[in-house]
Symmetry: C2
Subunit: 439 residues, 2 copies
Amino acid sequence: MRVLTKDIAHLCRDRPGESLVVFGWVHRIRELGGITFVILRDRSGILQLVLAEATDLDRSCLTLESVVKVTGVPALNEKAPGGVELSVHTLECIARAAPDLPYQVNADIGKIGLEAILDHRTLSLRNPKIQAIFKVQATIIEAFSEYLRGQNFTEIKTSKLVGRSTEGGAELFEVAYFDKKVYLAQSPQIYKQIMVASGLERVFEVAPAYRAEKHDTPRHLNEYISLDVELAFIESEKDLIDLEKGILAHIFSEVARKNAPELALWHTQVPHAEAVHQAPIVPYEEALKIANTEATFGGKKQAARIFDINPEAERLLCDWALREKGTDLVFVNEFPRRYRPFYTYPLDTARTMSFDALFRGLEITTGGRRQHDYKALLEVLPKFGLKEEDIAGYQVFQYGCPPHGGFAVGCERLTQKILGLSNVKEASLFPRDRKRIEP
Amino acid sequence: MRVLTKDIAHLCRDRPGESLVVFGWVHRIRELGGITFVILRDRSGILQLVLAEATDLDRSCLTLESVVKVTGVPALNEKAPGGVELSVHTLECIARAAPDLPYQVNADIGKIGLEAILDHRTLSLRNPKIQAIFKVQATIIEAFSEYLRGQNFTEIKTSKLVGRSTEGGAELFEVAYFDKKVYLAQSPQIYKQIMVASGLERVFEVAPAYRAEKHDTPRHLNEYISLDVELAFIESEKDLIDLEKGILAHIFSEVARKNAPELALWHTQVPHAEAVHQAPIVPYEEALKIANTEATFGGKKQAARIFDINPEAERLLCDWALREKGTDLVFVNEFPRRYRPFYTYPLDTARTMSFDALFRGLEITTGGRRQHDYKALLEVLPKFGLKEEDIAGYQVFQYGCPPHGGFAVGCERLTQKILGLSNVKEASLFPRDRKRIEP
């Protein structure tokens, strides 16, 4: 019966002297005074194996990354990782790794550039610190879904092939669909709204979204996981901000509970629930003032005046919130009309009931109340260069659509900022950018 | 404070005479002896409203599908749906529906053809019986994920844009990706395997998959939700079948627990856990014999001899299993080499460690053990018209890949067969076929 490495220490205490079976990957090999020390890696963690010189073992499988089956007796050893090691009695080769490993899986990733990590993606994903990123991401997705189900939201899965853009902009990937041209969806926006209007009222979706943006920055992916939410019977974006605070507080507490080893590997912590709930909500115009003031904080010289909430402003606003409010999270609301899609609900002629969430210096969410009145929707279309036929799906709003709104959390960005990754690509298993389409 | 319609009956018993607030869509209107009866629909169900002739209410919003806010006092009434009705005191119009509703939302969908249902998708999704399909589907996705997390699987999200086919076959949608041509992924096959080999060992994914198949049948979608599983350290496809039985038993019990109203609307039931666990495993050659025997069962005349497990054979095998074994589920294993992808693990020269799951007459799963030895993988490539460079991602198998396997459940097909839908398109919110790309 196989035992996971994470369970060895307590088995050693509970049933000392008992022989155990362990499976895993050869992560590190070290020879010392005639003894071979092997660090074995399985899905739960790592374990030190001790192979005495005298033991008659087939050592042909002692190449890095080989998969082995080992039996042995555990012993407590303060100096070993996890405080326990296994004296090996038998060693069986499950899959021998060729010795010409083209990438050093067990290296300190801080010393390897991002390009090398991505060029060797199938191997770099074996590094425990890199794998930790995706264990945290799995918790984010689970906690997001769990929280919303608890609030009576229904999970939906909508098509990623659309006949036209609904977000505006030309940043679409074209798909040859039989004899037609279609596009990869930039977001499930229209579908979320149709489902809210259908009477489901509260929906969420976890799915890929696509942006054909040409720029290559540490904050952009051409394919990303969008955590989407939409709900009926709201009054303003403040209801949405409340919901997002609840979601984020739950995600952070679940990551803290389930991913302590992963957070430790990245030397980081998630915010406490109180810090999430006390995140300030700053109207756009005020946010601009704060960003400009913050740019000169402590006698700094401002590089250039800030005229919109650009990446620099996002960083400055988060610096301000951390210092003044003790929180990693800021909401900016009341964005001007010109910065928001046609379907955004107006607050007045100039401003909208919309918001962004900024977390640790980065925008992780865009959302807002939507225009649910079909006639009002038609009225704004010309300003956005759109015609009625461009928004065909919205015609159903003529037949009973309640006030509603929603938002989307960028899953990789949230992962990035929880762990302090320098580039969002690190938070995508197989990131897609202009040049990278393999593996 | 808003109350959901599903909670009215018990509130009426617990706090009789108390006024309540309800929001919802006007689902049906009936005039009888000077009294207006309205069926109101919200996300939780329906409720009968009673508007006495004398009451001074603004009735302009009494058009089908209008969204209204209502206050009133509930009273038990055996004849009303759910055994309760609400005497309306105030009626407020939230969103008035235009009276020219182009599709009858409250119609019996059994009397409306599939084309009409899909042509009016944004409205047909409001029908409670149609909406029930997607409430069940949400439970399927939740239960699938929950069961696997409980078995220590990690959820992954992999790219849907791939440089080439890994499944063989030319049924790929081409995407214009900047200056390159890429394809929509037919499955996350290679990514699941890379992640298993990485040491994560056990992974699952819920994501769209694409097949550019030109045929239009009741069992095909060009875009579908694939429930994918892959795990290390298995011996044969029988380990996978055991896992799938566990998953399906959990899904069925969760659907039974959470979706009783939806199952009732479709006059159907899910199989019991015992029936899942006693599903027979029939080797391919034996399955062919059974199908041919079953084709003449009860003195029927066989239309044509069956030479492979085609849709007709799937139906016959399920007929046989239901009659002889009392179960809706059959597993067929040991498929011949020629029917399976290059990465399938051999049982002997002719047969593979692969399987299909057939449920209520339809194949819902294909899976198998995979070849984990890179040299053995290279050896079979010529038979499949493939070269080493076609399977670039698999090169990592040279560096320690354990025995492993997996499978995928077609989410829409499982939904279809649980509810007894005649066409798989009914189980897709916004189905994509050769002609349908909107909404």
